[in-house]
Symmetry: C2
Amino acid sequence: MYRTRTCGDLRLADEGLVITLAGWVQKTRKMGGMTFVDIRDRYGITQLVFNQEVDAALCEKANKLGREYVIQVTGTVRERSSKNPNIPTGEIEIIVSDLNILNAAVTPPFTIEDETDGGDDLRMKYRYLDLRRNAVRKNLELRHKMAFEVRNYLDKQGFLEVETPVLVNSTPEGARDFVVPSRMNPGQFYALPQSPQTLKQLLMVSGFDRYFQIVKCFRDEDLRADRQPEFTQIDCEMSFVEQEDVLNIFEGMAKHLFKTIRGVEIKEAFPRMTWHDAMKYYGSDKPDLRFGMKFVELMDIMKGHGFSVFDGAAYIGGICAEGAATYTRKQLDALTEFVKRPQIGAKGMVYARVEADGNVKSSVDKFYTQEVLQQMKEAFGAKPGDLILILSGDDAMKTRKQLCELRLEVAGQLGLRDKNKFACLWVIDFPLFEWSEEDQRFYAMHHPFTSPKPEDIPLLDSDTGAVRANAYDMVINGVEVGGGSIRIHDSKLQDKMFQLLGFTEEKAQERFGFLMNAFKYGAPPHGGLAYGLDRWVSLFAGLDSIRDCIAFPKNNSGRDVMLDAPGQLDDSQLEELCLKVDIKE
Amino acid sequence: MYRTRTCGDLRLADEGLVITLAGWVQKTRKMGGMTFVDIRDRYGITQLVFNQEVDAALCEKANKLGREYVIQVTGTVRERSSKNPNIPTGEIEIIVSDLNILNAAVTPPFTIEDETDGGDDLRMKYRYLDLRRNAVRKNLELRHKMAFEVRNYLDKQGFLEVETPVLVNSTPEGARDFVVPSRMNPGQFYALPQSPQTLKQLLMVSGFDRYFQIVKCFRDEDLRADRQPEFTQIDCEMSFVEQEDVLNIFEGMAKHLFKTIRGVEIKEAFPRMTWHDAMKYYGSDKPDLRFGMKFVELMDIMKGHGFSVFDGAAYIGGICAEGAATYTRKQLDALTEFVKRPQIGAKGMVYARVEADGNVKSSVDKFYTQEVLQQMKEAFGAKPGDLILILSGDDAMKTRKQLCELRLEVAGQLGLRDKNKFACLWVIDFPLFEWSEEDQRFYAMHHPFTSPKPEDIPLLDSDTGAVRANAYDMVINGVEVGGGSIRIHDSKLQDKMFQLLGFTEEKAQERFGFLMNAFKYGAPPHGGLAYGLDRWVSLFAGLDSIRDCIAFPKNNSGRDVMLDAPGQLDDSQLEELCLKVDIKE
């Protein structure tokens, strides 16, 4: 045994105990004839004391310890004279009687502190050192705990975790697959799953009734801050359920996680919002409801008064920022610049302050009477001190998305996007189809197995774009943490879907034949959803990027710079796989 | 809601309740004016009753139900007149008032019964139907429960589950890797992990202290009954531990699983056997200790009596099968044939029966006096009615392996390999190296990071082959369920290992550079082990092949015949990956 206790668990009550600890040297400092060493392990930090007068040789040895040396010490727990209230072990220290250097360490390329001096690239290359930092390790501890509590909850609800294969076949209608050449089947390839969607549906056909899996999924897409080529899903499916059953079970899971992980008891039901309302009032299918600033449409009030920008607009809408009339001209100009950025694309912004006397002062006063401006104020329910911001445009949907960006920006500036406050909701009634102007065809908004709302089935032919799906997303703080749908279990309806999506019968058979075939043998009504574990952990941990909750993430070129992967293969490996690399310049 | 109860939970106490069930039609039968339908879901089977006289139309609808139709029924729970004691719901039946066909089903290609008429190939192709069978589903339920209890135990012991990447780099010194071409890094490949060995060691360098992961691993090897290209490991690692600490924690885990999964409380410590003794007494590094028949060596007794086969042998050894003197000549001939099979390779077998009067009658009586045979009898401690079986050969290790096969065969014939009896042990003190005659070099028996026993370090140069490792396997009923080692944390010792394994410094740097580099920054003493989850589940489920505890296994050509994977890629996919298929005839 290398240790009898850990560096995090000694307290005043342990005074007098002789203990052995093992860990890393966090720092050393000399003071008078004493040497103090902070020893660190996963559990905490404990102060060690060496006294020059008591044991000069031992103290000398301690003086030579470098940062990150791995040591083992034996000593006696003693009350500290100058206590450190910031750490749980801050009331005690160890009078060391024996010091054993288990491993020396060269100087790390950055400091192992919460606030480190290492840049992103350096920390990725030495990820194993970055993971020593408390701040990073805590994220992975949280991740462990979340996955553990997900399993606890789902097991209690009768879900079985079933492992589905990683070496599968290519799935259509999604992102690009990662593929794996098969040596035993020359010229053929497996694909890594983008999700176990079809396999979990087969498990429902098998009568598994309630399935889940915390599972790695893979997409060969260009990367962004919140995307990784491999990511982890909490994948779930249930049989003999309607949408309401699924929402109940998984709202329960979310509440269980809030309670066990964040210590927050949520009693009320999550609000539900149709996709249509989410777009209309927040310009987003994942509205952040930690704060208000719901969109107000102003076409009736603001059109026809001679302000050509508004008069020619297909959409005029705005938000009211409570108490933000204090915004200076400079701040308002910055907001205007913000919405005019190419990635947002608005042409300009109109603003109006409600003054102390109730009068409205706007940037377009010359076009509007105070009477009209008062009508506008009423529409927002604005009070003295409030700031109204208005956008307009040719395309209602585009303008709403711009207004959404503005709303989030202003909320951020006003401190309304508090990482320790949580607002959950279900967005429901998504459209079943998305029209692609480019391809002149419909695509499935979720995937081709999503069922239409029964009452909209008659519209499939007559008004395809208007058909709503039995599909739902769980949104927390403007982040889509999960989403799913009730699936089609009727093979005739499934055929109809494939037809509307432009699949020939042959193509549908080629791509989904095995699933369609399986459905002939008695498919139960079923539905489910999948959560993005990485995103949810990031949200609970208050992180800006999912990378920080992944032990060994990849960079934006899909490289693991620590492992230096991917890499070259030997010619013999390629030959065995019947492959040739063929790079065209 | 499609149902108010499941098909497995109604009892006599529920009599009179009006309930709704949903599930699959297991079978229908008509008797008098009644139709009985068994409805099945994951939870059980319930009998439904339709009465021609009460509701002729409803009864007619029931008569038309085919096997595996998906139905929903509402009705009243009633006590059965002829009860079925074989199923938990056997005391009740449902008087159906409403029947709703949720989905029709074509006739399945084999019967969905515990004893099915479907052959292996058919059941693999229609795996989703095979999974409907109680016998198969139970294995996956067991698998879920085992993984769940593994996590419960390890979480309580302070282990953190950390997900390591699936897209990594190629690992040397192992089996063949599966590789994944990188589109973003043309001409380069990721590899799928054969195990997260180096990553978990990096996590120890990171101070994670106690890590585990239930994780998919991949090996591109030719397949056998208990091998799959993807398999699942319970992968574990601990810091600041010696071998004893690791054995304690994981013996505790095994006992926890025996208790929670099999209901067996094991109080005693698992026996420990050195690799040397395992080979000497059982001819195997994974002895099956459910029964005795320990090898007895007979060179001293049996040599030099004129029986040339024994006189020229390097090894003579045997086993004593209690009470097996009843074996007929025919049975003994069959055993002789068994050991002479090419895959076993013995030249012949000598047998001896202990008769009721204590005399020994052997197949080599003409060479041995009764006195010598009595000495032999004493060596085995054989009693009247026992059967002694002896093999000999030029190579002690080879002969022991043959004797091992014979021991297992005889034990099987005598019913001593009871699937409901469990014998656990640790095999310890494995050799650190294996000598390859072919390559004229040493290989690491486990992997290059396994540490030698400290007392054997002086032998590294002088007697390399004799160095024992701090390595251990957990063996249950002759199956190696897990194994691991204490790792080298001293970079000088690691350099020495690489040198003994014939790596040039350059090659070692190229292959393991990042790990060796990491170790310079303060590596703690650490060690761990990995369990094969598939094997362990198979063992607990009493299965002969790991395939039966995997939801969607692959066949011996590495194909998923249900998904029809692997498959061809489109030319455009290959082009994007800068690859050409190049099959040489």
